[in-house]
């Protein structure tokens, strides 16, 4: 056995400390390099993501390709894939990456799929009535299906307003967007200040946010002023009733449209803040700030907690897996809010996490996130292409 020497002690310490220290900066540095183009919203990278999405939105994806183990969740993910894809195409146009005509054509492909019978089947089955045939029946709210679908259509109308020369969306989509926006605004007015139902007897603030944001964006895109009253009233009731005062987060669910059933959670709040950026930017900024206050960066990787600090609860289909308190949905969706509200430092850290956990793969000029499948591809496409607030509301000169 060799005798103990100072040199040996230093060598052994180095062999232990250097690798340990490298753990704190090397993986983060590698992911920073890999996510560099995402940080700058590199046009070529967005084109690759867009091309990757066309693989899912070309009509070949079927319900059988999704396997959550629950028919309702499969249906929601199937629907969500096309809705988020449409948002991503629209936002790519706002960023100036996709030509307006190309973006609108691809959005229209999504709209056709979204109103197809297999996609809306999940909502029909649980409501026992058709959301598109029930537009005059105000007791059947269908707020999730109508809200999310309408938000993407309102975004297409906004693009059409900015580029009147571009063609792409059909007359059927325009008429449906008009009809759904009016039906939703009327239902909000009738039920105010209560929430609309996602499914019979089930109330989720985030689904209501998607619906109100779709009405707000529609009003802006079509210069409609008659919804100003309900849009303002809804914002006030959201502050008063649906935001948890202690955490600043939006409640996840409610009973009978008024009493919170769950605590404030980041997954729902972050998604709501993203939608509200199109209709209620101030509320969006406040909700985003509440989410950002729950962000941490272990080893340089940005992550957001699903629940307020000190609260330990389990995950569900909305939050995705929760690891050491950090939620997958909360972290992924916050990428859009960090971009929209100019939190570049947080955005850089969140993108590192996206690259580490999403495992991006590029082939044949297509970009896919290996761990996400179709719904992961679509959500991250929408999150990565979220434009800064001054591009969403250029007329306000932010």
């Amino acid at each position: 056995m060799k005798p103990f020497t100072t040199q040996r002690l230093v060598r052994n310490l180095c062999c232990f400390l250097f690798p340990l220290l490298s753990l704190f900066f090397l993986p983060a540095w590698i992911c920073t390099v890999l996510s560099g183009k995402l940080l700058d919203q590199d046009p070529e990278t967005i084109r690759e993501m867009s091309k990757g999405m066309t693989r899912w939105t070309d009509g070949t994806l079927t319900l059988d390709d999704l396997s959550t183990g629950n028919a309702l969740f499969d249906g929601e993910w199937f629907f969500g894939t096309f809705q988020m894809a449409a948002m991503g195409y629209g936002q790519s146009c706002i960023l100036g990456v996709l030509e307006p005509e190309t973006a609108l054509e691809r959005m229209e492909e999504c709209f056709v799929l979204l109103r197809s019978a297999p996609v809306r089947e999940f909502d029909v089955r649980i409501w026992k009535s058709d959301p598109l045939e029930d537009l005059e029946i105000d007791t059947n709210h269908h707020v999730a299906y109508l809200g999310y679908y309408n938000l993407a259509m309102s975004l297409a109308r906004e693009i059409q307003r900015r580029h009147p020369e571009a063609r792409g969306i059909s007359q059927e989509t325009v008429q449906l967007n008009d009809a759904i926006s009016r039906a939703l605004a009327r239902r909000f007015q009738l039920e105010h200040p209560d929430l609309l139902q996602t499914y019979p007897g089930q109330y989720y603030p985030v689904d209501n946010v998607a619906a109100i944001a779709s009405v707000g964006l529609y009003a802006k895109a079509t210069d409609t002023v008659e919804f100003d009253g309900i849009l303002a009233a809804w914002e006030q009731s959201c502050w008063d009733l649906w935001v948890d005062k202690s955490s600043g987060l939006l409640y996840q669910s409610a009973i009978k449209g008024r009493d919170p059933l769950d605590v404030g959670r980041v997954s729902g709040t972050a998604l709501s803040a993203y939608f509200l950026a199109y209709s209620h930017p101030e509320l969006s900024a406040e909700l985003s700030a509440s989410c950002f206050s729950l962000s941490d960066a272990p080893l340089g990787f940005g992550m957001l907690r699903e629940y307020p600090r000190g609260s330990r609860r389990n995950g569900d289909i909305d939050s995705g897996p929760i690891l050491f308190g950090y939620g997958v949905t909360a972290t992924g969706v916050s990428i859009s809010n960090a971009r929209i509200h100019g939190e570049k430092n947080l955005l850089r850290k969140l993108l590192r996490t996206a690259v580490l956990a999403g495992a991006p793969a590029r082939s044949q000029n297509e970009w896919h996130w290996i761990t996400g499948g179709s719904i992961g591809d679509a959500i991250l496409f929408a999150m990565m292409t979220a434009p800064p607030l001054d591009l969403i509301h250029p007329e306000e000169g932010r």
């Binding site: 060799k2 005798p3 103990f4 020497t5 100072t6 040199q7 060598r11 180095c14 062999c15 250097f18 690798p19 490298s22 753990l23 090397l26 993986p27 590698i30 992911c31 990757g52 693989r55 899912w56 994806l61 390709d65 999704l66 396997s67 580490l356 495992a359 793969a361 590029r362 082939s363 044949q364 297509e366 896919h368 290996i370 761990t371 996400g372 499948g373 179709s374 992961g376």
Partner: protein, 90 residues
Amino acid sequence: MTVESRKTYWTLIDRTLFVLMLVAYIYLGHRLAQSNDATRLLGRPRIDFYLSLAYLLIHFSLIIPLPVFVVYRLTVFCCRRIPDTDPASS
């Protein structure tokens, strides 16, 4: 074979294996990233489960354990070259 030559022999094997592992990692990662199948994984989990698992293992390995292992090996390599000047051992 002397003790010294045996040491050199094993060091050579050790480093060759390490370099081979590195090359294999990069090659496999590159091939899988280029593979068309690897991009359709969760949509078709029943078909490509093992391919996705392999891709993810390589992806994570290249980002976290492998760089740290490289630093460890480099540190060991450099430390061995520091001359032992401690009076107690000379």
